[in-house]
Amino acid sequence: MTDPLADIISACQSNHRIAQQQLYELHHRRVYRLCVPLVGEQDAPDITQQTFLKVFRTIQQFSGSGRFETWLHRVTVNECLQHIRSRNRRPEVALEVEPPEGGSETGAAVESAELLQVALDRLEPELRTIFVLRELEELSYSELAELLDVSAGTVASRLNRARTQLKELLTQLGWES
């Protein structure tokens, strides 16, 4: 039996537009879902688009020896990190979120989603990436190690740092677990 995804990828390698749309339909939600916590909801559509442009422009280099999803993760993460680095170089007015006053209604007024995004934005990009990949894509440590080109031990220590720092950032912002 032939693998439908392999057929689609093969057609994409010949710049077949219908196949490109099929590949996009199969994976764009997953890519977008990764981009939102990594670059923010405002920039996620742009980066999703850039990711698929990169995929279609370089899909000839996908040999088929590994999983397509791993390759797609790598392209997505690279596009996100590139965007974060580029954005970090531009001077921007920092988004200030006032910590809620204890026990008042202010805490409830700030949505958890906003708090999470602000906290993620303040996390180092490498920590943000590994945390999001683990939580949303549920990649194993060996998959994360391969994708990020680090050891499994480094995966564990980065995830520990990511979670500890994220918890501290959220607490500073008034989040109560």
Binding site: P45, R57, Q61
Partner: protein, 285 residues
């Protein structure tokens, strides 16, 4: 098992990545230690928080925008090989924010910056050279360890914009060398326009098949000052003259293209240089 050892294994425990033996020891400690138990509860709460927020849908017209860019690519004739006449790749949001007013402001700003830069250049050329030498020395020292950090250093000193080759071509008014096909297995990762003292420089990061990174810079004026006091060698590369500098087991090379200069940083050896020259800057037929 103490608290520090437990905390070190908290993520692997939470993610189900601990062996049975380790899991038993860590869980035993957590049953007896409220502080570590609280840390584990925090990890679980974070997982719930991020997973609960991850159900937003992308914009419905994202494919339409993507397809229009793919159409532009097809019109240009190659996936990453634009011509000067092709429209630049525009991202989803750029379709909604481009305006002639913005272009006017940008043009005025560029004129002001360039005008000011010419005055400064004439009065402090020597100072620029010193700064350039220092900045590029840092760039070359950092590049073998972390090309991204090296790039960051460069961009911290000179204003830069992340672009694609289409946009680069429109800005510099020529077809950048990195728009040509790279040798097989090489990928073009990023393209930046960097406003160097000499000119608006096209700076690209590429990845070789073995995973090593290369930087390619295209500039209007020869810049021996970039390499400071490092010893240089002249090299005859398939009948074309190039200037070589060795650093940390890698090579940097500069050669004169038809109208500009190309500098490549991070190459392995002369053979790789010859291949890159052949692809980036093929000799006139």
């Amino acid at each position: 098992m103490n608290c520090q050892q437990t905390l070190d294994m908290l993520s692997p425990l939470h993610d189900g990545e601990l062996s049975a033996d380790h899991r038993e020891s860590v869980e035993q400690h957590i049953r007896e230690c409220s502080s570590c138990a609280e840390a584990l509860a925090d990890f679980k709460a974070l997982s719930s928080l991020v997973r609960d927020q991850s159900d937003t849908d992308p914009p419905a017209d994202l494919w339409d925008q993507l397809e229009s860019v793919l159409d532009a690519d097809s019109t240009c004739g190659a996936s990453v090989a634009p011509t000067g006449t092709c429209a630049p790749t525009r991202t989803w949001r750029e379709h909604f924010r481009s305006s002639s007013r913005t272009k006017g402001v940008v043009a005025a700003a560029l004129i002001a910056v360039f005008g000011f830069a010419i005055i400064i250049h004439n009065t402090t050329e020597h100072g620029h050279d010193e700064h350039l030498a220092v900045n590029f020395d840092q760039f070359l020292s950092e590049f073998p360890k972390s090309p991204e950090n090296a790039q960051k250093l460069l961009h911290a000193n000179y204003p830069s914009d992340l672009v694609d080759v289409h946009q680069a071509a429109l800005e510099v008014k020529y077809r950048p060398a990195v728009a040509n096909a790279l040798p097989e297995g090489y990928t073009l990762d990023t393209v930046h326009l960097v406003r160097m003292p000499c000119c608006l420089c096209v700076e690209a990061l590429c990845t070789a098949p073995d995973g090593t990174r290369l930087a390619v810079l295209e500039h209007d004026v020869d810049q021996p000052v970039w390499f400071g006091d490092r010893p240089t060698e002249q090299c005859d590369c398939n009948g074309r003259a190039a200037r070589l500098v060795r650093f940390d087991g890698r090579l940097a090379a500069t050669w004169k293209s038809e109208k500009r200069f190309l500098t490549i940083i991070g190459i392995r050896d002369e053979e790789e240089l010859a291949s890159m020259m052949q692809h980036l800057d093929p000799p006139e037929a």
